[in-house]
C-alpha cells in the first residue's frame, strides 16, 4: 500500500472531492438540463400531436368546403336555368303583347281609315247635292232648251270640279 502511495487520508480526500463534484455537477448542470430535456421532449410530443389534430381538422374542413362548393355549383346552375326560363317566358309575353298591340293598332287604323272614308264619301255626297242644286238653279234661271241645259250642267260640273281642284 505504501509503495503505491495509497493512504487513507488521501483516498478520502479524492473520494470526497469526487462526491462533492458529483453533487455540484448534479445541482448545476444535470438537474436543469435533465428537466429541460424532459420538458422539451414533452413539448415536441405535444406540438406533434397538435399538428396531427390540425392536419386532420384541415382535411375534414377541406372536405366540407368541397361539398359546399359542389352544392353551391348545383344551386347556381339551378338559378341560372330558372333565370333563363323566366327570361324566355318574359320575352314570349313581350312578343305576344307587342303583336297584340300592333294588331290592335292596325285595327284601330283600319277603322279610322274606314271612318275617314265614310266621312269623305259623305262630304262628297253633300257637295254633289249642293252642286246639283246650284246647277239646277242655274238651269232654272237661264234655260230652256235641253241643249243649253245639258251644256250648262256640264259647265257647272266642270266649274265645280275646277273649284274643288283650286
Amino acid at each position: 500500500m505504501d509503495a503505491l502511495g495509497i493512504t487513507v487520508q488521501q483516498l478520502l480526500t479524492q473520494l470526497v472531492s469526487f462526491l462533492i463534484l458529483f453533487f455540484l455537477l448534479y445541482k448545476l448542470a444535470y438537474g436543469p438540463i435533465m428537466g429541460m430535456l424532459d420538458s422539451r421532449a414533452q413539448k415536441i410530443k405535444d406540438s406533434l400531436e397538435a399538428a396531427e389534430t390540425a392536419r386532420l381538422e384541415a382535411a375534414s374542413s377541406a372536405e366540407r368546403v368541397e361539398a359546399e362548393i359542389a352544392a353551391a355549383r348545383v344551386e347556381g346552375q339551378k338559378i341560372v336555368a330558372e333565370a333563363r326560363d323566366a327570361a324566355s317566358k318574359l320575352r314570349e309575353q313581350e312578343q305576344d303583347r307587342a303583336r297584340s298591340d300592333v294588331e290592335s293598332m292596325i285595327e284601330r287604323a283600319r277603322t279610322e281609315i274606314a271612318r275617314e272614308k265614310e266621312a269623305a264619301v259623305e262630304e262628297v255626297r253633300k257637295e254633289f247635292a249642293g252642286l246639283a242644286i246650284t246647277a239646277a238653279e242655274r238651269i232654272v234661271e237661264g234655260s230652256l232648251d235641253a241643249k243649253s241645259h245639258s251644256s250648262l250642267i256640264d259647265k257647272v260640273l266642270e266649274d265645280g270640279i275646277g273649284e274643288r281642284k283650286n
Binding site: 505504501d2 509503495a3 503505491l4 502511495g5 495509497i6 493512504t7 487520508q9 488521501q10 483516498l11 478520502l12 480526500t13 479524492q14 473520494l15 472531492s17 469526487f18 462526491l19 462533492i20 463534484l21 458529483f22 455540484l24 455537477l25 448534479y26 448545476l28 448542470a29 444535470y30 438537474g31 436543469p32 438540463i33 435533465m34 428537466g35 429541460m36 430535456l37 420538458s39 422539451r40 413539448k43
Partner: protein, 423 residues
C-alpha cells in the same frame, strides 16, 4: 515530389520538418551515443506515490490533489455556464453539455434495455465519471504538469527514507537508544541506496542533455568507503559517543550540504564533473490526478459502491444479497462458493477499475517523459495527441463499465432461483 519542389512554401515546410527531425534525433538519446544529445531531457525520478508539495496544517497536500481540484473547477465552470440559464433552444455551453448528456442518456437507455428513461438512474453517475475522468486526464497532460516543481534536497530525501529503516532497526534491537537507531539506519541507508542517482541541478533548472547518463549517484554526494562504514557501524553498536566520530560527522555534513563532491563515471563510460552543483530530485508541483492511485481508487470505490446500492434498491436486500450469501444446505455448497466468488468479483472489479485507469495514465505520463528523452522537441507532439485520445477512451471505458456493472446488478437473476427450485 515535383509538386513539392515547385512550391516554395511546401518545400520550406518540408525542409523545416526534416531539420527539426534531425535536430531532434541528434539531440536525443540516439545522438548521445555519438557525443551529441544535448537536448535530451533527463529521466526524472519516477515515483508511483504522488508527492507532497505543501502542508495545510498537518494535512499533506499532494500534487495530484491540486490537479484534481483544478480539473474539477474547470468542470464546474462549464457546468455552471451550461446550466445557469437553460433554454429550449440551446446555445453555447448548454449545447456542449447537452450533447454529452444526451449521448449518455441514449447510451444508458440502450444498455439498460432500450426503453426510454429505463437507464435514468445510472445517468448522473455514469456521465459524472466520464466528465471527471476526462478532465483530470486532460489537465494531467498539460505542459508543466510533472515537469515544474521544487528540488527535493538529499537531506530531505534521507529524512523521508530513513524513517522506515529506523523502525526496522528498532524492531531488531529494541535495546538501542534513539541516537543509535538513527545512526544505524543511516548506515544501512547509505549501504542500500549508495547507487541511487540524483540530478545535479544548474541553479533551478534540470540540466538538459545526455539524460540518464548524467545522474549523480548518492555515493558521490555523500562520500564514504565501505571500510569507513563498517567501522562506524561497529562504533554505533557499542554506542560510545559515535556522533563525535569524524566519519559520521562528515556524512551528516555531506547530507546537509547536498552538493556533488566527486567526479564520477557515467553510464556511457565518460567522466562527468559536477563538483559543487546541488544534487536533488524534482518534486513536481502538479501531477495528473489519474496518475495517483488514491484518485482512481476513490472513483472506483464510489462507482462500485453505487453499483451495490442500485442492486439493493432494485432487488431488495434478500434479492440482491442472495447473490452473494447462499444457504449451503438449501441450495448446495457449490452455490455458496459461487456466491462468495461473486463477492470477490465485486472487489476485483474495483481493483481493475483502479489499476486500469492508473496504469494507462501513468504509462502515458512516462511515455511523454521518455519521448522528451528519445526525440526531444518534436517526439512528444504525436504522443500528446495519443494521450488526449487515451484520456477519452479510458474515461469512456470507466463510465461504460460502471454502467454495465450497474445494469447487471439491477437485473434480477430469476433464472438462477427457478433453477435452484428445480433440483
Amino acid at each position: 515530389m515535383g509538386k513539392l519542389l515547385s512550391s516554395p512554401k511546401l518545400l520550406a515546410i518540408a525542409i523545416a520538418g526534416i531539420v527539426a527531425l534531425l535536430v531532434s534525433v541528434a539531440g536525443g538519446a540516439l545522438g548521445a551515443s555519438f557525443g551529441l544529445g544535448q537536448l535530451g531531457g533527463p529521466i526524472p525520478f519516477i515515483s508511483i506515490p504522488a508527492e507532497r508539495v505543501a502542508y495545510i496544517g498537518s494535512y499533506p497536500l499532494l500534487n495530484s490533489t491540486i490537479m484534481f481540484w483544478f480539473g474539477g473547477i474547470i468542470l464546474l465552470f462549464v457546468a455552471w455556464r451550461a446550466g445557469r440559464n437553460v433554454k429550449d433552444v440551446p446555445a453555447g455551453w448548454q449545447n456542449f453539455m447537452e450533447a454529452i448528456y444526451e449521448f449518455f442518456s441514449g447510451t444508458v437507455d440502450g444498455v439498460a434495455g432500450g426503453e426510454p428513461k429505463s437507464g435514468r438512474r445510472f445517468l448522473a453517475l455514469v456521465s459524472t465519471i466520464f466528465l471527471v475522468v476526462v478532465i483530470i486526464n486532460w489537465v494531467g497532460i498539460l505542459p508543466g504538469v510533472g515537469s515544474v516543481g521544487r528540488i527535493e534536497t538529499v537531506e530531505e530525501w534521507v529524512h523521508h527514507h530513513i524513517h522506515d529503516l529506523e523502525e526496522l532497526v528498532h524492531d531488531e534491537h529494541p535495546e538501542y537508544s534513539d541516537e543509535q537507531v538513527h545512526g544505524l539506519a543511516l548506515v544501512h541507508l547509505l549501504e542500500e541506496h549508495g547507487a541511487d542517482t540524483f540530478v545535479a541541478f544548474h541553479g533551478i533548472w534540470v540540466p538538459l542533455g545526455n539524460g540518464e547518463q548524467k545522474r549523480v549517484p548518492l555515493n558521490k554526494i555523500v562520500t564514504f568507503t565501505s571500510d569507513e562504514l563498517h567501522k562506524l557501524e561497529d562504533k554505533i553498536k557499542v554506542g560510545d559517543k559515535f556522533y563525535e566520530d569524524a566519519v559520521y560527522q562528515r556524512i551528516e555534513h555531506d547530507i546537509h550540504e547536498g552538493v556533488v563532491k566527486e567526479v564520477f563515471i557515467g553510464g556511457d563510460d565518460n567522466e562527468y564533473d559536477f563538483r559543487g552543483k546541488t544534487a536533488g530530485l524534482l518534486v513536481p508541483y502538479l501531477r495528473g490526478a489519474s496518475t495517483d492511485i488514491n484518485t482512481t481508487l476513490g472513483i472506483a470505490i464510489v462507482a462500485m459502491f453505487t453499483v451495490q446500492i442500485w442492486g439493493f434498491r432494485a432487488l431488495g436486500v434478500r434479492g440482491y444479497g442472495g447473490k452473494f450469501v447462499v444457504n449451503p444446505i438449501k441450495q448446495g455448497p457449490i452455490s455458496t462458493f459461487v456466491g462468495i466468488l461473486e463477492g470477490f468479483g465485486e472487489l476485483t472489479r474495483t481493483m481493475s477499475f483502479t489499476f486500469r485507469l492508473f496504469g494507462n495514465m501513468f504509462a502515458g505520463e512516462i511515455l511523454l517523459i521518455a519521448m522528451a528523452f528519445l526525440l526531444p522537441l518534436i517526439g512528444i507532439i504525436p504522443f500528446m495527441g495519443l494521450e488526449l485520445f487515451v484520456g477519452v477512451i479510458q474515461a469512456y471505458i470507466f463510465a461504460m463499465l460502471t454502467l454495465v456493472f450497474g445494469v447487471m446488478a439491477v437485473a434480477s437473476h430469476g433464472d438462477h432461483d427457478s433453477h435452484a427450485e428445480d433440483h
